[in-house]
Structures are given as C-alpha cells and as structure tokens.
C-alpha cells in the first residue's frame, strides 16, 4: 500500500515538474533580485559644479566673445533666426528679423527683434538615456551649447523636433520682456564701452546691482 502511494506520488511529481520547476526558478530569481543592491553612486557635491565649469569652458570656446559675455552677464543667449519668413509655425514674420532666446533647461523663445513681440516657445531637451551618474540632464551650459549648435547648424530641424507652444506656457512673458529690456541695456553699455566711452563694464554693473 505504502509502496503504491510512493510510486503514485513520484509519478505525479514527475508530471507536475514542468509546471513546478519554472515557478521555483522564477521565485529564486526574484529572491536574488531583491537581495541584489541597486547600483548607487556616492554623492559628490562637487561633481555638478565641476561639470558645469567644464561645460562653461566648452561653451566659451564655441561662441564668440559677445555671445559669451551675454551669457555670462545675463544668463541667456540670443541667436538670430535665419529662415526667410520666420519659423514655420509662427504665422510668418513678413521678412522681419527675429531671434531666439536660449535659456538653460527652459524652452527656446522666438520673438520679433524690432517689436519684441513674442512668437512661440519651443520645448526641446537633449536627454542622455545612458544616464551616467543617474541623470539624463546635461549641465546648464552644455544644454545652452547644444541648443546653440542645433539652432545655428540646422534651425529648421531643431524647430521641427521641438514641441511648439504659445508664449507664456513656461516662460513668464513679463520676465521675458524684462530680459529683452536688460539685453538692450546691456548692448548699449557694451557699445559705449567698445567705443571707448567711460563707465563700468556690463559685468560690473550687473554685480553692482
């Protein structure tokens, strides 16, 4: 009797092994995965600062002296648009000159240079999906340089890639108009300085404010 039961149990176990073995294997893998430590990076408070210092150095080596001074003093870059009738989805500029303001990790803003009418916001990112150090986000100055290179190298391609929104979605229009006013003041001061006039340099005025 006992022998018959044992034999039956063995047969049943053999028949069920196809179902049991994968399940046991899966449970074992889950157990191992739970015990495995997630990769962590020791926090280095200076890493981001060093990365940003390198990024600023690279940006400085790519843009001209005026653009570098603009970014250093004002925190954004202006890039002139080159499309004959403005960005495709801006409703046409009638040939009027237009430009973009590039902020780090903020949308690119298109505006008419003479009237300062805001045209569009272009939301674009440059994510590095390999996520070194756990983040896909470039240093601020690298983000600005990537936008600058993509805009000056192939404006239409970048604008087509970006998500377009009306002004005011992310960038406060009042803040942008203040920035445009700051930019015009900065350019006047720079012109005076380059013409040999007296008065402090724009950077000194900023730091004194």
């Amino acid at each position: 009797m006992l022998l018959a039961l044992a034999a039956t149990a063995l047969v049943a176990l053999a028949l069920l092994s196809d179902l049991i073995v994968p399940r046991v294997d899966e449970l074992w893998n889950r157990y191992k995965a739970r015990r495995q430590r997630a990769p962590t990076w020791s926090y280095d408070p200076g890493r981001e600062r060093r990365a940003e210092a390198r990024a600023r150095s690279l940006l400085r080596s790519c843009v001209n002296e005026e653009e570098w001074a603009m970014y250093r003093d004002l925190g954004f870059l202006r890039v002139w648009g080159t499309l004959a009738d403005g960005p495709d989805d801006a409703g046409g500029t009638g040939g009027a000159p237009y430009a973009y303001l590039i902020y780090p990790h903020r949308p690119i803003l298109a505006y008419l240079a003479q009237t300062h009418r805001l045209l569009n916001e272009y939301c674009v990112t440059f994510p590095d999906e390999t996520r070194p150090y756990g983040s896909s986000r470039l240093p601020d100055s690298d983000d600005v340089l990537a936008k600058w290179m993509a805009l000056t190298g192939d404006e239409r391609r970048l604008i087509t890639t970006a998500n377009m929104h009306l002004p005011g979605r992310q960038l406060d229009p009042a803040q942008v108009r203040r920035d445009l006013w700051r930019l015009s003041q900065w350019e006047r001061a720079r012109m005076r300085q380059l013409a040999g006039g007296d008065g402090p340099a724009p950077a000194d005025r900023q730091s004194a404010a």
């Binding site: 990112t125 440059f126 994510p127 896909s136 470039l138």
Partner: protein
Amino acid sequence: MKPGHGEVLIAEGDVERAEDEQRLIEEFRRQLDAGLWAAVPVSGPEGKRESIMVRSFEDIPWDADRVIFFPRAAGGR
C-alpha cells in the same frame, strides 16, 4: 557632453595619418550609431560663430579642429 561630467574627450588624432583617420572614422560612426548628434563649431565672417551639423565623416570641414557630440534633441514638455 555628458550629464554629471560635461566635456569628455573621446578620441583625437591627425587625419593626415591613415591609422589615425581610420580610428577617428570608427569612433565617429560609433557615436552616431549610439544616437548622438555631431556638430562642428566654425568661425564665419566678422567673427560670427556658428556650427555645422554633420551626418557623415566626409561632411566634416577639412580644417575642423574638433567635432562635438551631444544627445539627440527631443521634444520637451
């Protein structure tokens, strides 16, 4: 360009030397295959600076001193 690091030197060499050129071509292709964009900063007339987006090694101006690779643009929110 790398998050958390900034500029990283990938490869350097003299395109006049055949073995250097081959190495640079291979590295260039590897970066583009990884999904990166490549640009060459150049100087225009009157000190104007701009960049050229390059999609093949042959597109790189002969006098370029560097090619910068950066993550491909994507629409943001």
